[in-house]
Symmetry: C2
Subunit: 147 residues, 2 copies
């Protein structure tokens, strides 16, 4: 059996498993996977709507609704850009940041049992391999702080 296809299967399996963790952790705080991701992106950025949509691979109109609901919940704010009065900048509120950090802690706790199956050296190996895998196109996939 081809090594690369085995790897792809493992990647897909892992993806679904991590997705389940993120979905559940988000849902515990009434956040969809997408909303959670938006919060993560906004954590260290202040993009405009179109940028955000491009990051996520979503339509502009989808972003409108997404941000609108999050704003109504007090998690984000929209403000017209000073430079370009058409553009809308999106930013986290303090409340949004706190909520994200809370969910992030839950995620870390839920992933711990899995990660704990590896010893420290293996963890480093795995991290490095995954970094290589996703290198050079990490745009828009940030969830956590920074490298």
């Amino acid at each position: 059996m081809a090594a690369d296809e085995d790897l792809m299967d493992a990647l897909v399996r892992t993806t679904f498993r991590v997705m389940a963790v993120l979905t559940r952790a988000g849902a515990a705080h009434d956040l969809s996977l997408t909303q959670l991701r938006v919060l993560g992106i906004l954590r260290d950025r202040r993009p405009r709507m179109t940028e955000l949509a491009a990051f996520l691979g979503l339509d502009k109109s989808t972003m409108s609704g997404l941000v609108e609901r999050a704003e109504r919940r007090g998690l984000m704010v929209r403000g017209r850009s000073p430079e370009d009065r058409r553009a809308v900048d999106v930013a986290l509120t303090e409340q949004g940041r706190e909520l994200f950090d809370k969910v992030r802690r839950d995620v870390v706790a839920e992933l711990a049992p899995f990660v704990g199956r590896l010893d420290e050296a293996q963890q480093c190996d795995l991290t490095r391999l995954l970094d290589v895998l996703t290198a050079a196109d990490r745009a828009g996939v940030e969830f956590a702080s920074e490298p």
Copy 2:
């Protein structure tokens, strides 16, 4: 910085990246991520509705709609179980299997550039590490054929 949190970040990043590939490959054939996953599960199983819902972590009623639409498209069939006349067995049709295989090929092609960044030895290492990570609870996360 803690090795385990670095790893979790890498895992989440990878998850979003693979998810994007799966979503796009599915969408190219009018399949949502969830539907694609259902097809994958049915590939070597013939579960009843409740089992399927449990696999996916979804509500029974969600399954009803999901399977109903897939059946209307000719991808699956539902049949009352012979043993328990309340239960409904779900199975892939030939067409469903073909569609899944087609999408799977697309996914393999789209993942190839990423996987190709690793040499064969690294691929094996990564596969093994991911297998350890998701070991013992691979239920419901199968996408591809079999270990």
